[in-house]
Each structure stands twice: as C-alpha cells, then as structure tokens.
Amino acid sequence: MKKYYGSVSADLAAVDGRKRLNMDKIMTVLCFVLLMIIVVIPIVMIIYNAFFNEGKLEVEMFVQQVTEKKNLDAMKNTLVIALLTTILGTIMGVFYAWLLGRSDIPAKGLMRALFNIPYMFPPFLGAMAWDMMFNGRSGYINKWLVQLFGLKSMPININSVWGIVFVEVSYYFPFVFMQVVSALERMDPTLEESARISGARQRQVIWKITLPLVKPAISAGALLILTTSLAHFGVPAILGYAKRIYTLPTRIYAVIYNSGGSFDGIRQGAALSVMLVVVVSAALILQNRILAAGSYDIIKGKSMRPTLIKLRGAKLPLFLLAILTLVLIVIVPLVMIVLISFLKAYGLPLELKNFTLDQYKAVFSMGGTIDSIRNSLFVSITAGIICMFLGTLVAYVVQKIKPKGKGALEVISMLPYAIPGTVLSIGVILAWSGRIAGINLYNTIWIILVAYLARYLSFSMKTSSAALLQVHSSLEEASRVCGASHTESLADITLPLIRPAMVSGFFLIFLPAMREVTTSILLYGPHTRTLGVQIYTLRDAGMIPQAAALATVAIGIIIILNTIVTKLTRDRKGV
C-alpha cells in the first residue's frame, strides 16, 4: 500500500497540518531550549569541571578530593545525620499522624494546623534558636542549668551530630506526618473493621492492617526527609561549624568560601558535588526499589469517616505529650529568637532592663537589610511567575503534545529536584560567570534567579501536570469541533481550567524561595544578598541579636504570606 505521509501522529498536533510552524512545535522547541539553558548546562558544567581542566582530562583532583579525610568525614556525617533524621522523623511523623488521624484526642483541628508550622518555618532559623539555648559554650538554658544545679560543665551540647539530628527531625517530621495523616483519612474503614470482626485485637489491627496499608505513604514521606536532609545546608552550617562538624553541603560551602571563590575552589566544590549527587541518587534508587515492592490501591480518593480509637486512660498523657512536642519544636525556638532580638547585647541575661528596640533600628538602618528583603521579594516573585508559566508549558508539552523525547523532557525538568541546592549553585557559577558565550552574571541578582528557576521548576511542573491530567482531552477537542482554533481552545478551555493549579504552583515556589539560604549563600554578591543570606551573615559576623531581629521580621513576613495564601487557595476551591 502506498503511504502518503511520513508519519501519522494521533493528537491535536496533527490537526493543524504540517504546512507551517504550528504552535505545538514552537512550544516543544521552546521547552527544550529553555530546559537546556536552565537545567542541563549547569549540570554538564559541574561534571565537566570535576574531571576536566582547561580542556584536558584530569582525574587527580577528583580522586584527591574524594579520598581526602575531611571530605570522607563530611560524607560520613552527611549519611549518619540523614539516616538518623529519617528514622526518627518517620517514627515521630507516623506516631502523631496516627494520634491525630485515628484517635479521639481532643483539639485535633488546632493541633493539625500547629503540626504543619514546622513545615513552613525555615529550619536554619530554628537551628539559630536552639544554638542560643544549648550552645556548648554559651547557651542560655545551658548556663541557667549550670547555675541551678551547680554543674561543672554545660549539660547539653547542641553543636553535635545529635543536636543537628534533633533540629532536623523537628522540622522534617511533618513530611511524613502530612502524607500519612491524609492516607489514614482516605483509608476505607471497613478494612480495619473486618479485621476486628475476624477476631483481631486493637493492637493487632494497628500493626497488621493499618500500618502496612499506609506503608506507601510512610516511605514516600521518609524519602522526602532523606533527600532533603542529605542536601540540607542551614542546620549543619549553623550548629556544626563551631565544632568543625561538616556535612557535604557545608563542606562544599567551606571549600569555596576558604578559597575566596577562586576557580580551583569551585572545581573542588564541583568534585564534592559529584560525590553528593551520587549519594542522593543512591537514596532515590533505593526508595524506588522499596516503593515498587509494595503498592496498594485500597486507599480511595473519596473521603470516608474512619472509626476513631478511644484512648481512654492514655488520652490525657498523650494529649499532654503532643502539646509538649508542639511547645518544644514550635513555640520555644520562636520565643527565643524574639527575646534575643530585644537584647542590648548577646550574652546579657534575659531581663527586662536589658531589653531594647535598638537592634531593629540598627538592622534596618544598615544598608543591606532593606536591600535583602527587596532582593528576596524580587527573585521569589520573578522565579515564581517564570516557573509558573515555564512549568505549565513543560507540563503541557509532556502531557498533551507528547512529542518524541517527552520522557527526556520530563526527566530533565525533574532533575533539579534530586540535585542539592548547593550543587546547583556551583553549576550555575560555572556556567554563567563568563565561560559560556561571554555571559557573566556573577555577583548579579540574575544568577540567583537562574538558580532558583532550575531549583523550583519541578514544583510548578508537578502541580500543572497533575491539573492537566484532570483536563480530559475531549474538552479541548470539543472546543475545536465547536469552531475554536488551537490557540483559542487553549485560551478558552485549558488555561482557565488549570489556572488554580498554576496559582498554587506559584505560591509553592514563592514561599520557600522567600526564606531560601542554601542556594543563594554561594551566589550572593555585595549588593545581592537575600533575606536568608543577610540573616546568616549577620549571625556569622557575631551580630546575633541583630540576626535575631531580622529573623523575627522574616518569620513575620512568612506568617503573613502564608495566611494570605491559605485564604486565597481556600476561596478558589470551587473552581
């Protein structure tokens, strides 16, 4: 039989014919080009510079870095901290998820809201607060305990691996908590009821039925803790530096910082980055194995009312435990930061006569502070908006146009999700400080923006992708048949339908970008500090009360923004 056309594709793209450049093709090409610039080039630059020097293969530097004791120690610390954080955070998350999701503990709504706070709270500010209380040399509570009991040395030292683990757990357990709580709520209650009817005791039901059924949710949350902790910079930087406890991300920062930003330093950082990426990838592969082993489809989309388990005598103690946990991980650090921000000087006793508003005045009369807030707002909003559109574009190409190589497109856009912020920064430095086409963005705000784009693109792509999957292709086809051109049907049907998801994708980027420190700490220049960097450098310079004052302001901004976002997204639910 004679073939009239080279290939027959079975989607809307084919409808516009092949006569001229159509919109689908433009979008597809645009996607590839932008992802190439934003994601691929930095990553390629890291790998290239880790192994090549001035165009020649040179493995000695890499081997030397990877075998150096300091770096191996850092790797060991990274793994130990991440594993301990994951295990403890998962246990804590599952326990409280069960308590709030399945038991008759009082004040559930309020507690659930409070348990989500650590999720939006920047962990490095928490680390600052805990350092103020339990620093091995000068922690306020440490000193107070020494006085009270006449101890010879400080009883608790937060500047240790266990201290780092403690702080990370208290900010990362919500990853598991949120996943599991929603899985528990969507679980069909008859599954547990039939176990009871078959003669199982309450305890057996929990262990043999409930927990195995929410296992996928648990491991998904645990992976999130693991990868986040492996890549995390803030907490180990604040708590570990004093005692020279390094993790890979802080070690990378130290190497570059100590070399004064020289090319050799950056190359060493690139070598360490490769090491870190290998560790994170191994974790991701491991997780894939575990998740693939057990997946259940028993958890249904529609909500059902699960049977609540009566705690009886344990009700009051467990309630108090939950309250105590909340106070410890949410309220105590917050109060501590606010208190310190009012101190005339760090180290003075926390008494009313030592309180002043001078630190706030000082912070805001400093040139950099207002700039840093403005910078953060600018890069967060810009990155949010660009990612919102770019993520939607990639999602549309992957979900609806389905060109050849859509798999590659998807992988590329999700890649930065698995790549630690520190690593990404190095890639961006290597790529955009004059080595490619003479483009030099170093020390400008644009280099931070480019890094944020790469880092957060997957967030908006995920939400838009999920929304596009909900938009059945027949909706767009119906509008075509009703007389709308391809562009018109995009504008009239598809975009309005995914607009809520696009907006929430924006906030999903804007909020974390506002408090970001990991990426920008390596990229900031004299005039391009972000809010996070400004707090970090103030503290690093020993101006702890001023850092606390700015942190208080930052927390205020975050709380206000979060409230606005919750209001906005709630109003949009109907669509």
Partner: protein, 361 residues
C-alpha cells in the same frame, strides 16, 4: 443536512491498524448506528470525521464538501468542519455555565450577542434544560450534562450530528427517554445523525440503518436493522447481534452428525460447503422450538421465567444450548420442566466455518 461518505479510510497507531480500507456512505437525513465491539475503531472513525486525527489513506466528504483527501492533500481543520458532536464523556466545560457552554460555538462564529442568546436558549429548550441555563455543570446530574452536550451540538446548524455512546451512563428509564428525544430532534431538524454504540439494543431502537464493524476495523455489514437481524452477512454479525448457539457439524458415512461430545444425527438440510467439515451450526435461542416428534432430543437443565419469555438451558449430548420460548408459544404448547427430555427443532439454522481455538456455546 448532508450525506457523509467515508472512502477507503486507513488509520494506524504505530503498527496497530485500527481502520483498514473502510468505506461507508451515510445518507442524508437518516440515523445510522455504527455498532461494533469495544476497540473496533468506531471512535477512531468519528475522530477522523471530526478532524481530530489524520487517516493515512482515503477521503471523507460531507455533502459536496471534501473534508479530507489524502491524495489531494486536503485536511480541513477541526474547527472548520461544521460537525456537531456529543462526546462519550459529554465534554461539558466545567468552568462555564450551561448557557455559556451552549453559546460557545456561536461565539466562535462571531454572531451578534442577541442572536447568540436567542439560539442558545432555543437549543436548551429543545433538550428541556432552560431552567438550568445559569447552573455550572457540577450542579447537574449525568443525564442533564448529557443534554447540555446535545444542545451544544444542536445550536449551530451542523451538516452532521455525531453521537459517541451518548447514553451509556444513564439509567434505563432515562436512556429510553433520551433515545426518543434524539429521534424527535432528528425528525424535527431532518438531521443526519451518526450514532456510535456497542449497545445493540439502543441501536435497534433508534436507527434507520445499522453499520456493523468488526474487530479488525472493517465494515462487516451495512443495512436496515431487519436485514441485519434476519440476514446476517457472516458469522460475526450473527454472533454480535443477539444471542447464539453453535454446535459443530461433521459428516459421517451415514449422514450429517452434530458433534456434542456424542455424535447425534442431524436431519435438517446442510449446504454442500458445510458438509466438507470444519463448520458449525448456528441457531438463535428463539429459533429453537419444542417438538416431541423431532428425533433430536435434549434434556432440560434449568428454566427461568423472564416476564415476557421463558429462558431454558438444555443439554444436547454434552453440549449446553440456550432456548427462548415466547409467552404465546408457552401458552399454546405448554412449558418444559427441569429434568424432562424433550424433542427440539431448529427453525433457522445457519452454517459458518468454525472459529479456531474459540469456545463456542
């Protein structure tokens, strides 16, 4: 309104051929039901007509307008084809009100505002949905959404209306109502309707003509419903429309035998080609009658009363067959009881080549 001609349409997804040299001519002002098992290419054909996919060969013509021609490289884009469609899943836009949904095709034709409103309300009237004009689709039931989809297809004077399984999601009573409604609309507008379904019952109720499609994407038979039921062109049509019994036949020295585990002599006429072996006898349950004078005996396994008929399972040798006895027949000749042995006669036996590897019962 216009006639629709598919000529020699071939379409593949990769190596998977969905339609092969498919031709069909739908006359103007008729309802043609396209019937076939799931996955036979019905929806693909419709999508080719709508311009949502591009066939490899052939042409599609509506009236005197060529919408697609592979040789002449004509491919009118979907938005310019002027065909009304009711999608299987309605495809009612969830972010627009009922009125906005129905107005949309007119808006795309850049009609004056007043005319749009008038015609949209008129279309809603036709499907009895005027009072829901300002509702959002998520406030409507499935049946109501479906009627919105029909109104949206009716609102412009399309050359052809296509309905892709439009009523499968409705309950039995509403389904009946909608079928009548579709018939009424067709009469009023003298519309050409291409109605896609795998449900032969509604097809029989609705159509002027039926087109039976086979699994491999070819047209099996095209004709009036009587023709298709009474004179099935081949085994596929016979089996697909209605219930059927199949018994293998073999030729032995002393005459034709039914192979039911045991060999049982068959006295009826057998065409010459069927006598050569590899053939099966096919008979509909309502073409089997009880007749104790017949030499062919069967045992009654079970009997169920279905309101307008009796449904039996009989054993002929090792083979179980299904028999339907109409009320009239039951009244005049009496019913058979479970466990009894009865004589049976095949009224309208057909002979088809046996299908390889398939269990026929």
């Amino acid at each position: 309104m216009a006639n629709v001609t598919f000529d020699n349409i071939t379409f593949r997804y990769g190596n998977n051929t969905v339609l092969e040299h498919f031709s069909l001519d739908v006359e103007s002002g008729t309802i043609v039901c396209l019937v076939g098992p799931s996955g036979c290419g019905k929806t693909t054909l419709v999508r080719a007509l709508l311009g949502l996919i591009k066939p490899e060969t052939g042409s599609i013509t509506v009236g005197d307008r060529v919408l697609f021609d592979a040789k002449k490289r004509i491919n009118v884009p979907a938005e310019k084809r002027n065909i009304g469609i009711v999608f299987q899943d309605y495809a009612v836009w969830p972010h627009m009100t009922v009125l906005e949904n129905v107005s949309y095709p007119l808006k795309k034709q850049r009609r004056p505002k007043e005319e749009i409103r008038q015609r949209a309300m008129h279309a809603l009237e036709q499907v009895h949905m005027t009072e829901y004009a300002n509702h959002l689709p998520n406030q409507l039931s499935g049946g109501q959404q479906q009627r919105v989809a029909i109104a949206r297809a009716l609102v412009v004077d399309s050359d052809v209306l296509v309905m892709d399984e439009p009523i499968t999601n409705l309950d039995a009573k509403l389904r009946e109502e909608m079928l009548l409604e579709i018939r009424m609309i067709q009469k009023r507008l003298n519309a050409t309707i291409l109605y896609i379904t795998h449900d032969q019952q509604s097809a029989l109720q609705l159509c002027d003509k039926m087109a039976i499609m086979q699994q491999n994407g070819t047209l099996c038979q095209y004709g009036s419903d009587e023709e298709i039921i009474l004179h099935p062109a081949n085994r596929f049509t016979f089996e697909f429309i209605g219930v059927s019994n199949f018994i293998p036949v073999v030729k032995e020295p002393n005459g034709m035998m039914l192979d039911c585990g045991d060999r049982i002599p068959y006295a009826g006429e057998v065409p010459a080609e069927a006598a050569q072996g590899g053939y099966e006898l096919g008979v509909r349950p309502n073409d089997i009658v009880f007749d104790n004078t017949s030499p062919l005996k069967a045992r009654v396994d079970s009997r169920v009363f279905l309101g307008s008929e009796y449904n039996y399972f009989l054993s002929v040798g090792q083979k179980q067959i299904r028999v339907q006895q109409s009320m009239l027949d039951a009244r005049t000749k009496g019913i058979a009881n479970e466990g009894e042995t009865v004589g049976i006669r095949f009224l309208n036996a057909r002979f088809y080549p046996a299908r390889k590897g398939a269990e026929t019962a």
